[in-house]
Amino acid sequence: MNFDFSDDQKYLKGQAHKFLSEKASMSSTRAVLENDNMPFDTALWASIAEMGWLGAAIPEAYGGLGLGELELCVLAEEMGRSLAPVPWSSTVYLLAEALKIAGRESQKQEILPKLAQGQIIGCVAASEGPGEPRLETLKSFFDGSTVSGTKIPVTDGDCATHALVLAKHGSASSLVLVDMAHTGITKTPLKTFDPTRSHASLKFDQTPAQLIGEAGDGLGLLSRLYDRAAVLFAFEQIGGTAACLDMATAFAKTRFAFSRPIGSFQGIKHKLADIYVALEIARSNAYYGAWALSCDAPELPLAAALARVGACEAYYLASKENIQTHGGMGFTWDVDCHLFYRRAKLLAIQLGAPALWKEKIVRRLEMRNAA
């Protein structure tokens, strides 16, 4: 039984923590929050590229460090904890992973090395309105060489160099890759609940696009891609949950009411204990997802869904009760509580909301039982 990260992986996590506490302070997050014309922290992005993290899980053959998914998981936890305002998840968890599992050799060679160097930013353009994308409602279409249609919202859509676009393709759907340098793409920035990450709506009009993976397998590939991303998102979410718990705990020890630390009242104590329990449950499920991801285990679909739901629930609880523990101060702009409340919600819905993933858990339990 060795259900834990290796010492090397823990060392990498420690390094990442040290690096991000210096380079990705909350002032970096707030700079993006308060500046509509600053989609992300370019300086931070550059130094993350220098660290080689963008290529951490990319094979050396494609210019990466050739580390595994487990290393990516520990980095993800620290990125989540730091709220780093960069297009990291769109680029690393989504674009790079998509190419790794479904990209053609030429696509990998063209994109992955540049991506590892920080010259490429990815995004996924799947949503066209409320609810999960479905074949019946999908309006964007791919004619074999170009894609047309409007996608909203697209996280990092305004700064991405490449977009993965879900489009109708004949009677089925396909996932296609669009070079955002093409002309005739209309990018409209969007105000969102989490301005520390940038969003846009993208309008494609016969924009050249190349197929990723099998023609007609768009929704299937997206689902497999989201299973992988769900595990990595889960680590960002437990990182954020742990940050909220640390904040609330530290505050409860030093904030006095009725001449006692508020942490000595069971009302606060039991609240924080509940968050701890939720975090441990989320962490254990995330580890399981990490294991399944690292060895492409058949358990991945179920493990990913368990990891995602556990992480969404824990982060929501921690981020809202961190505000509550801080009282009036927690409701102010200058205290960081709301930054986590915002990010928790974005991460909880970007790949599809918990209700959707709960249904996935049950369907996957049924498949396992059927098998």
Partner: protein, 410 residues
């Protein structure tokens, strides 16, 4: 049992409705309200004019004694007026706290000359009052406040900081709770003053909320001089005076903020559900909706029980404190469900794209603050446990200790 007004109540309701129809417009959509449309200055002028017309038509100070220019009616009539007023886009906000909490305190504790000077102008809308109790280190534990007033001849000199004061920047007067004797136990060394908000040494700064807006202020006191005559209730009696002020906070029989379960249900008919049909047809959403309906209707009906007590001339108990626990948490839960049911699209707040002009996301923010403002969930549960169920208070380490000797953690 019936839900009908008594003949007198019905008559009063009709009169109130007639007055309102003549002076203000019926409520329109949220974004078209006067407050949203007008600049603050213009809105304030409208509010003052509206308050003046209330006074001229006998709808100001409904429960106040006649000799103070009030109507001398029982609380049920102010509830009825409030119910009718809530159907209109009436600019009443700027006067709620002053007339609801501050001036009643003045009426209870000020000298007759002072009452003559202040009650009329407040009632006629000429002057606005604010309330200055909370401090950065004294929220749930208001009596732990540090703002000092030191006697200097016939004056007192106030230094310190207050927070979460609504309307401080446009108020003419305020009542401020300060510490006049740090050598006494915390509740015993407090005194209440009323102050001219335009006094030298008072600086008002807006608080930037996590929601982005600024509905409250920080108020800094630097060597602010007030005359000893402005002491309300006498030196060292500040806590009992404050309790009178806060008692008036309770009669909150108004509606709940943000979208209610009906609005979310209507909207759910236009959102896709998990299985391709609409959210409104999703059985798990319907189970949640039923829970919300039970709590929302139950709370509404609980208020009818409060009104019944008022109507019978009884004083409703602290039962009303269940209200905010339910509404704030339910608002957070409902709006969270609404946002998540849109999946990725739920993150959008941009006008024109976000459903209902982003009211779900705004309320999801507000709800977090609502669980704190005016008594946290935890404090309200203590109140229920101690005042209603009669459970013993928590162990107090701050009794019978000079305030200056109390541990503060700093």
């Amino acid at each position: 049992m019936d839900f009908n007004d008594t003949p007198q109540e019905a008559d009063y309701r009709a009169k109130a409705h007639a007055f309102l129809s003549a002076h203000v417009r019926p409520k329109g959509s949220e974004k078209e309200t006067l407050q949203k449309r007008l600049s603050e200055a213009v809105y304030l002028a409208a509010a003052k004019a509206y308050q003046k017309s209330k006074a001229e038509n006998g709808f100001a100070g409904i429960t106040w004694p006649k000799d103070q220019g009030g109507q001398g009616l029982s609380p049920i009539y102010s509830v009825i007026f409030g119910q009718e007023e809530s159907k209109f886009d009436a600019p009443a906000g700027p006067f709620t706290i002053g007339l609801g909490m501050c001036v009643p305190t003045v009426i209870a504790f000020a000298s007759s000359t002072q009452k003559e000077r202040f009650v009329g102008p407040a009632l006629r809308g000429d002057e606005i009052w604010c309330q200055l109790f909370s401090e950065p280190s004294a929220g749930s534990d208001v009596a732990g406040l540090k703002t000092r007033a030191v006697r200097d001849g016939d004056d007192w000199v106030i230094n310190g900081q207050k927070v979460w004061t609504s309307g401080a920047h446009y108020s003419d007067w305020g009542i401020v709770l300060v510490r006049t004797n740090p050598d006494k136990a915390k509740h015993k060394g407090l005194s209440m003053f009323f102050v001219d908000m335009k006094s030298q040494g008072i600086e008002v700064r807006p608080i930037h909320q996590m929601s982005g807006g600024s509905n409250f202020n920080e108020v800094y006191f630097t060597d602010v001089r007030v005359s000893n005559d402005q002491l309300l209730g006498g030196e060292g009696n500040g806590w009992s005076v404050a309790l009178v002020t806060l008692m008036n906070e309770r009669l909150a029989v108004g509606g709940s903020p943000g979208p209610d379960y009906k609005e979310i249900f209507d909207w759910a008919h236009h959102v896709p559900g998990l299985d391709g049909s609409t959210l409104a047809e999703d059985p798990s959403f319907r189970q949640k909706l039923a829970d919300w309906a039970v709590r929302a209707e139950g709370y509404k009906l609980a208020k009818f029980r409060t009104m019944t007590a008022l109507s019978k001339g009884e004083t409703p108990g602290p039962e009303s404190s269940i209200g905010k626990i339910i509404t704030a948490n339910q608002l957070q839960d409902m709006t969270n469900t609404a946002i998540e049911s849109m999946d990725h699209f739920g993150i959008i707040t941009e006008e024109g794209h976000a459903p209902r002009d982003g009211v779900f996301q705004q309320s999801f923010m507000w709800a977090a603050g609502l669980r704190i403002a005016g008594g946290t969930d935890e404090i309200l549960k203590n109140i229920i446990a101690e005042r209603i169920l009669g459970l013993p208070g928590d162990v107090r380490v701050d009794k019978d200790v000079a305030f200056k000797d109390l541990p503060t953690g700093h």
